[in-house]
Symmetry: C2
Subunit: 390 residues, 2 copies
């Protein structure tokens, strides 16, 4: 083991972010070393990755444990399973940084475990901050842990803040492509299919995030996340529709100056920035060319047609477990939509119903977050069922 | 005198930049104190400014010396005249920072004097670096002096580099409005009048700079200036036409990420940034609003119609005294145009002729810069006369 290498644990290595992270490792073997890989179901890809990157340990979902164990038994790679194992591997002494890319609420516990062990966090899991932002950011502060955002919008803000942390932020603009249904009305949205919603114009992402992008709940979650990451109030966060996805977000300082981070839509850049911050490592990523983008356009977000954004602001203002409820209900709603159980426009309706039904807790403990999450899911599921049986 | 105040000398206080600087002082009397004001001809405004800001000293052109001396005699304000006096006042112990806003070659000596005395420089005078960039930047390095750019484009680059000075710049984009004749051809340009050329679409500036903006020599000078300020080669500097003047310039780093600084066209922002760097002081400057700019557009610069840009790249590549020759010839050409002695399209032609006629010196001394400047002016003037008499 070369001591100058940054040793990373990639949680969710078979997902879109995980795979792109491994591409970056491949291009920077002199700077990065993979210590841990984890996946839930995609055992074959996990095995392939493990054989290529030779991590110290892998963690896989229970159903695939025996299969992966068998495949890796002749190699010096430990194989574990279970949520506890996930929390333990990120705390290993040989891990310097944890790239948290497990999608959804499932990513929360392991991220907290990594922060508790003082590991730097490259955060691709939105839910960690959406669900338990107060808890997570105060823990990170206590442990002196830096959280580097991987989301392109938050990375853009973070890049704009380099050298400016002493300066007051007046507001930020989170840019949004508007998704595949930008410019459409509610009537149109009532007819859209799963296939329509899965076609994102600019970004290639996992199914959950792609649907969130179509409902604009993705932007809603990002608003809440940005609040925690950068210490902002709801009124300091604005959403601006920018269909070309070239300006990834902007910061406006108290002198009125705006800084923007720009580039072609490519998640590798923010991942790499998080891995190497404050260094910018040379890359062969395709460069932006103004000739291909003679016009960058901007529109106000249509919150009447896409109520998810307003729901997120509301959850942020109410605080406590409300963003957790919003997130849990949304996860169920999206999964129900992907299972053809509910229609597209019912996704935000279901979220709103849950926000009204599950009781609000102002200062939840981790256990109360977990309970709120479970309750919101139960309520959301029952609403889905009702709809199906009605 | 309160010790926490930053004490500034404003060279060229009656010009556009000088006046705007005083507006900033007016809004920040708890942070800034005017030590020196200087002007060439506008005696009445200089007197008014001196009475309002009570500087330690003022310097004025010889013709107005007696008049200003008389007006200020009952006040505790010293009045000087002459180039030597200009160099001496900037070196006074009570001056912390020199805002160098004298237009043209005339600003060079006093800026060098300020650097020699170890004063921080807020640089609004392009020519200092265009003419003698090598000499000035190496002197600044030797004296540990920081040069803060005031030009909106260079300020934008400088703002984008905050927190990034350790990272390699791949390239920069200097944005250009394109001036009043964007999209026109040479035939059209052969018909334009002084009045046409003095109408800039976005910025309100002095006459010299406004004409430079119409010929795009302004951008040419900025290319050379950027090379010295940020240590860039000609091929690392690109010009992109952006008619709205909202993105003030961009930096592309070696990871492919672009950072842009944006805002409404208002010179007060870059002036204030230079005065207070690295602090951003709260301002009441009008804020940018995406609703007013639904589209930001970009075009390639038309160097066939506007050859000044190509001339500047050529001067930069040749180096030595060539940018000095370009600058001197341009000053004469613009002034001849403003005196109705030559036509608009003859401005770059005259510059090109001078670049071919005046002998190239690879490593000039300050005296050789001064001589090259004088020679280029003489050659330019003789070409102007020839034209008039032909």
């Amino acid at each position: 083991m070369k001591p100058t290498l940054k040793r990373i644990a990639i949680l969710g290595s078979t997902g879109s972010i995980g795979q792109q992270t491994l591409d970056i490792v491949r291009a920077n073997t002199d700077k990065l070393q993979v210590e841990v890989l984890t996946a839930q179901n995609n055992a074959d890809l996990l095995i392939e990755q493990a054989l290529a990157f030779e991590p110290n340990a892998v963690v896989v979902g229970e159903e695939k444990y025996a299969y992966v164990k068998e495949a890796l038994q002749k190699h010096d790679i430990k194989v574990y399973t279970g949520a506890d194992a996930l929390c333990q591997v990120v705390q290993m002494e040989t891990v310097d940084m944890v790239l948290a890319a497990i999608v959804g609420f499932a990513g929360l516990r392991s991220t907290i475990a990594a922060i508790e062990a003082g590991k730097s966090i490259a955060l691709a899991n939105k839910e960690t901050l959406v669900v338990a932002g107060e808890l997570v950011t105060s823990l990170a502060k206590e442990k002196g842990v830096n959280i580097y955002p991987v989301d392109s919008e938050h990375s853009a803000i973070f890049q704009c803040l380099a050298g400016e942390f002493h300066n007051k932020i007046e507001k930020i603009y989170l840019t949004a492509s508007g998704g595949p249904f930008r410019g459409k009305d509610s009537k149109f949205l009532s007819t859209v299919t799963k296939a329509d919603a899965l076609k994102h114009p600019n970004w290639s992402m996992g199914a959950k995030i792609t649907i969130d992008s179509a409902t604009m709940m993705n932007k809603g979650l990002e608003i809440i996340e940005a609040g925690w990451l950068f210490g902002l109030k709801p009124e300091q966060i604005d959403v601006i529709i920018h269909p070309q996805s070239i300006i990834h977000s902007l910061v406006q300082f108290q002198d009125g100056s705006l800084k923007a981070q720009m580039g072609l839509p490519d998640m590798k850049l923010p991942i790499q920035y998080a891995l190497f911050y404050p260094q910018r490592v040379a890359s062969s990523f395709k460069r932006f060319d103004f000739a291909a983008y003679p016009s960058l356009t901007f529109e106000k977000a249509d919150t009447a047609t896409f109520p998810s954004i307003s729901l997120a602001y509301e959850a942020m203002r109410k605080g406590g477990n409300m963003p957790c409820i919003l997130n849990a209900a949304n996860e169920i709603a999206v999964s129900s939509f992907l299972n053809d159980e509910i229609g597209f426009i019912e996704i935000p309706k279901l979220v709103e119903h849950c926000m009204n039904k599950v009781s609000h807790i102002t200062k939840p403990t981790l256990q109360q977050y977990i309970d709120s999450d479970a309750e919101a899911r139960k309520v959301a599921q029952s609403l889905t069922k009702k709809k199906i049986h009605s």
